[in-house]
């Protein structure tokens, strides 16, 4: 998946927007979001981090959430800070890690726990039931009984089906008075706002598109193999690899993170090539 090739939303009028338009992959650090009215489109891993980061400083945020998503607990949370959140290592810990054996033991414990998570990604395992119920509980409790958001946001499909994100602060941010979650789609963009699929206009100074990336496995450049085979064509609809590392008709070409390369793990791939 080329993270260098991001995807803009397919919205009529996007080019006519006169305010600040940005994609999560091409962040303009010079733009000051303080006291602005902004829109955030998307609720994938990017939006889930952007919404709680910008909510405290913007005047108002309209965020377009087209599909439900699971907010998970933090994985291997027992190795993280309180409630499984991010934390800074203490001076004491850093001193201990100067000992390579202690550092290795710590790394091994984390890695071991991550490598266990594959069980929960298979139906019918106790771990799967546990993840699903745990996440439902986490979301319900963090949404403080806000049934409207819970009904729209908690998926009917399985936990893990979309990329998981712990989403520190995301559900809390959605309930802040300066945030309006919109659970229908953005329909078109005007010079100074977004019109949703109910026809309601939301005036904004800035639009943040957290709309993801080109997810194709072929690269943007043309790769031609035996007998004129072109990789982009061969992998357009159903990218098939050999063991994720090779492709038929492309002798001597090896891939890292090719089709079917992500072992059953949570957001930690590409370690074992």
């Amino acid at each position: 998946m080329p993270y260098s090739n991001w995807r803009w939303p397919n919205l009529p009028g996007l080019k006519d927007f006169k305010g600040h338009l940005t994609h999560s992959a091409a962040w303009d650090h010079n733009y000051d979001y303080h006291d602005k009215r902004i829109a955030v489109i998307g609720n994938g891993s990017s939006a889930i981090q952007i919404v709680p980061s910008l909510q405290p400083i913007v005047k108002h945020m309209t965020t377009f959430i087209r599909s439900p998503t699971w907010i998970s607990s933090n994985f291997a949370a027992q190795h993280a800070g309180p409630d499984g959140k991010n934390f800074a290592y203490s001076e004491q810990q850093m001193k201990e890690f100067a000992d390579p054996n202690k550092l290795l033991a710590y790394r091994k414990k984390i890695e071991h726990d991550f490598n266990k998570l594959y069980r929960g990604l298979q139906y019918g395992t106790p771990e799967y039931e546990f993840f699903q119920e745990q996440s439902r509980g986490i979301m319900t409790s963090r949404l403080n009984g806000n049934k409207e958001i819970a009904d729209k946001l908690i998926p009917t499909w399985s936990f893990g089906c979309r990329r998981l994100s712990p989403g520190d602060g995301y559900l809390e941010a959605l309930q802040e008075p300066n945030v309006t979650p919109i659970f229908n789609a953005a329909a078109r963009v005007t010079e100074d706002g977004i019109i949703d699929s109910d026809g309601k206009e939301h005036k904004v100074d800035a639009i943040v598109c957290a709309t993801g990336f080109d997810v194709s496995f072929a690269k943007q450049w043309t790769v031609t193999g035996r007998d004129g085979a072109v990789l982009q064509e061969q992998w357009k609809d159903d990218p098939q690899s050999y063991f994720s590392v090779c492709a038929k008709n492309f002798p001597n070409l090896f891939f890292i993170l090719g089709p079917n390369s992500r072992e059953l793990a949570v957001s930690r791939h590409g370690r074992f090539y």
Binding site: Y128, C161, D238, Y242, S244, E263, L264, Y273
Partner: protein, 118 residues
């Protein structure tokens, strides 16, 4: 490491090219998709694991755990490839019948050990 191992073998054995056999690719993909049916990725959601589709093959995931992937990647299955050689006889890399050990008169009984033979 997987690719590096192949490249080393290719250099050593005068291999011109390796191309995965169609039947190996087919078997791999059939097995993978069948296995992945028991995973959450086939649930009814749009995701990049399925090429941004709601249904259809799971294009991103390996059919197994991290340990499984690591094990499978550690083996080069030559039988799954069409191999072409740079030389008319695939054993030209046998060379003149001697090894670098012979040529340098290095330890020519290196296989004898205290605890046996290897």
């Amino acid at each position: 490491m997987y690719a590096v191992k192949w490249v080393e073998k290719m250099a050593k054995e005068h291999i011109h090219s390796i191309d995965p056999k169609q039947e190996a690719v087919d078997d791999f993909n059939v097995y993978t998709q069948e296995f992945l049916k028991r995973t959450v990725y086939t649930s009814h959601c749009r995701s990049w694991y399925k090429n941004n589709k709601i249904d259809g093959p799971v294009t991103a995931m390996w059919a197994g755990s991290p340990m499984h992937f690591k094990d499978m990647m550690s083996v080069q299955r030559g039988e799954d490839f069409d191999i072409k050689y740079c030389t008319p006889n695939r054993f030209v890399f046998f060379g003149n019948g001697t090894t670098s050990r012979d040529a340098t008169d290095a330890d020519l009984s290196y296989y004898l050990r205290k605890d046996g033979f290897s």
